[in-house]
Symmetry: C2
Subunit: 643 residues, 2 copies
Amino acid sequence: MTDDAAEPADKEILRRTLDGRWYDVRERSRKIELNAYAPPAYEMDTETHRAAVLERLAQVSASGLPQVGFPAAQGGADDTGGGMIAIEMLGFRDLSLMVKSGVQWGLFGGAIQSLGTAAHHEQYLPSVMNLDLLGCFAMTESGHGSDVQKIQTTASYVAETDEFEIHTPVPSARKEYIGNAARDGRLAVVFAQLHTPAGEHGVHALLVPIRDESGEPMRGVTLQDCGRKEGLNGVDNGRISFDHVRVPRTALLDRYGHVDSDGSYTSPIDNANRRFFTMLGTLVRGRISVSGAAQSATKMALLIAGRRGLARRQFERAGGGEEVILLDYQAYQRRLLPLLATSYALNFAQDELCGRIHDLWSGEGTPDGRAQRELESRAAGLKSTATWHALATIQASREACGGAGFMAENVLPQLRADTDVFATFEGDNTVLLQLVGKGLLTNYSEEFEDLNAIDTVRFVADQFVGAVIERTAARSIIESFKSVFSDTDAVLRDRAWQVMMLEEREKHLVDTLAARIKKGIGDGTEPAEVFNLAQSHLLHAGRAHVDRTVLESFVDVIEKCEHAGTAQLLGTVCDLYALSLIEADRGWFLEHNRLTDTRAKAVASAVDDLCRELRPHVATLIDGFGIPEEWVEAPIAKPDSIS
Amino acid sequence: MTDDAAEPADKEILRRTLDGRWYDVRERSRKIELNAYAPPAYEMDTETHRAAVLERLAQVSASGLPQVGFPAAQGGADDTGGGMIAIEMLGFRDLSLMVKSGVQWGLFGGAIQSLGTAAHHEQYLPSVMNLDLLGCFAMTESGHGSDVQKIQTTASYVAETDEFEIHTPVPSARKEYIGNAARDGRLAVVFAQLHTPAGEHGVHALLVPIRDESGEPMRGVTLQDCGRKEGLNGVDNGRISFDHVRVPRTALLDRYGHVDSDGSYTSPIDNANRRFFTMLGTLVRGRISVSGAAQSATKMALLIAGRRGLARRQFERAGGGEEVILLDYQAYQRRLLPLLATSYALNFAQDELCGRIHDLWSGEGTPDGRAQRELESRAAGLKSTATWHALATIQASREACGGAGFMAENVLPQLRADTDVFATFEGDNTVLLQLVGKGLLTNYSEEFEDLNAIDTVRFVADQFVGAVIERTAARSIIESFKSVFSDTDAVLRDRAWQVMMLEEREKHLVDTLAARIKKGIGDGTEPAEVFNLAQSHLLHAGRAHVDRTVLESFVDVIEKCEHAGTAQLLGTVCDLYALSLIEADRGWFLEHNRLTDTRAKAVASAVDDLCRELRPHVATLIDGFGIPEEWVEAPIAKPDSIS
């Protein structure tokens, strides 16, 4: 960063920029008061912790914020984006509370909203919204987590009584890890294979009471407690089994599949696979919320480690002089600052994604299919990237704080334990990244989500003509760049060059992936094996796509930032983000002649330089996260307690 | 691996090979019976957990194993290596117990043994060994963790009463995170700046009672509880402050510094810095034990995830067929098998290091200084590498197990939480790797450990003539290899090529590091800044050195393995280890023309291929770890409970 900015970066403008489109919801979230925990959560036993989180849930409910995403007809505000932001903000404060909120309003309420019809909305949503009715989202089974389409719970229509019978036919059909199931949930959205006299119709969701008013399990329902977990112990996860449990026919959430009183099945979507993935698509909100909450937790970790690194000194620089501030060490900067830059980048991508789902879902009627598929892919990619980033950053922050970071009072252990499962729930990250890769291979064609490995291979063999890089936000800016790309130092900080590098990597990875698949098929290799042997390649393509789109979101925000000093600081952060990515994968860029030896070495030096340039701005960049001081509980991060 | 071996690998021979030189101690350790915990540790409150671990400590003591490292004169067996192995083995079962054992016998007892003289040994070691006297190792202070030489606690000789006065002069001199301090410790080895009327003599250790027989703090001693931690909650970490506490003159552990009754100070080591690092060198055992215990925990994690991956299926390969075993997916193999190979490699390096310290310390008199410095460097490097490997592997294992990995009953969360602090205690990993780098730059010269940044820079500028690669174990084998290095596929699996690649990287990194420092000095840059700007480079050199020496240990073991089938399997594992390392740093190898584009891509393919080749041997390789079935507590890893 050069020093010729007319004005320095402004932390309020920075915060406003990070707050993005839903800054008002964020500001309102910052004012929600929550009960203090005494003792702190890390000293509570499981039952006490669960009760304490339930109390806080009521306080969140009273704010009215999580409800804004529900229909205006039921007292919501049809504000899809705002509802997700409200949950994401809880990630700064209490991840158990965030997850319990996500289960109640996002998954349970969201399923009724998205999969149900008007009668369901009217009957249930008001009490879901105000917490009179706590519920579960019972999809995962012990035998099927990633491959949800193969769950084994059944819902069979019984014509005699005009009911469905919900049943767990084998042990592996037991519903597993279900939030709200062990203690608080009364009604569950149960995913099951729907059977009518005419046959099987695939996975559908039904509303099944699991506890009565007094909290006892309903007849035929067996509830178990998952017990202690690595983290999120304020959420009561449990297991649910059904023994021929009857519910009325109207319990079927029937927006995408309806059973008439004569037992006949109808659906607006003929193809069963397509229907399944349409229903699953309503889950995209959950993934976006998890991505956002992971980012909130990450920012808190960076605040803690950053403040510690700014205050603590160790080792004299020269005999007798004052000891050196930790953040003045290159190794310390290297550990934290690229992660800080990445957190900025992901923040902007998250805001863009929230806007995208909001706009898509706020329109009338069913959203455009292709746009919806691209949205799902974007959410899958950002969720996997942001949650892995959270784990890496919280860990780096813990280590940067040494022994202090291991003490429960300093919050990092709780952040780490609570976010760990984010990498595998609401979609396993590895599986989600494969979904991104499949989207790229098929250019989000109508079939892509319901293509299994073999179908995908065949689709690619038949139809792939070349990778399509669809720029989203930053097209105009990037195309306006002109650069001769001669001087290495200038090139490395040329935004157009950075974007081009990531675009070329993505395009090359997708094209060569397709070529590899075609070659495998041509060689007569079994299609499933072709796909399996290309798995690393597919995952790499998925990551490359996410990196590129995240960078574009960042570029877009910088372009729109009207405060020169702030835009300049953001530009330096963006340089660090982009060059860190290129450095991390420089083996690939070298192998594919996108970097010369000299330039690759220059990238590493530039990352060192950028860390040093950003060093004086670390406090400002942390302030930009907009974390209220009263939310900072770690003693080592409090302004007056650093040694 | 080709299939022409006359005999398949044998899991018993594999286990015996991994058990190494102290296989008898390992076998005896496998027979120690420990009380079952009820409820499990993850459901215990802190005080219950601490009490339960103390009970188990007595059972470990009764085995007689941890005591073998103590002098025969006090009832030990002078078996330095065996004593460390006994503690390392506890890492499979209970990491709180391992750490509490390490505090009691390794740090507390080890300091009395190494820093004290005959009178101390006679008076204290028997009761330390049999647990009549529980103690602390009070070195770290809240203001000084990595830079221990600057601790601020004082020990001042008071001639009038022939005593030392132990004092905490400032808040940052408070002893911090001290194991056994919150509950059980009665005597502490306290590190303090020694003052006599003649002046200051630097850091020395003294025996200071902190609790009386009834458990009350001694007068002038303030004890605080660190409270809940991320993990290791069975260990009672606390804080200790001293208010003018008096101890007799004989409390000074005076092997390296003695104060006479007339107050005069004498030491066999004139140079105060040298004296300090000699005392610190006695800590090397602790680091080796931590490295070993981290490896034990890592192996348990691999057992859990490996068995799960062998048993669980997800997604049909083709319509209607059986679902695919997780470990048949390339992505799943890629996540776990390179880590499994690395665990094998580190195991052999650990055994070699144990042998080295054992032989060095078992000789008569003071060990050779240079050998001792190289040993310290080796221990620092392996400790940092093995503990980071543990964190990465336990995390990968957790994610590979999905939601089941997040459940406390499945052990992985406890392993992860307990090992986390290993990355920063007994020496922060980043600081330790810098020590390795400094050893390389100075070729373990007499001064190297007490060189601060500035001195190191000056030393390099004046004396560095070129990197010295001293092969340890594998010299003869490697030199006997002859290879034309023509065909890429053959080259990649040529052990001589693999070793050469790692040697050349190390040598180049050290040489260019020195050149960079010399250039910085020549340019007139401030020496401290020269050092700081080279920090990433220094760390890379340290890592490269560890990688190379670990590979050599592996090569040595294969050469000595007399069972052809087992040696062949180990050879494939070694290929995967070596090529994974090269793949991970292939950016460097490409930049420095040690790999062509084509060969770099071939390395990645070879890693894929090796994972597939090892897939049928995963169960055997896990069995090789020699973990008794009754130690496997995770339900998902029990043979009969997989779904």
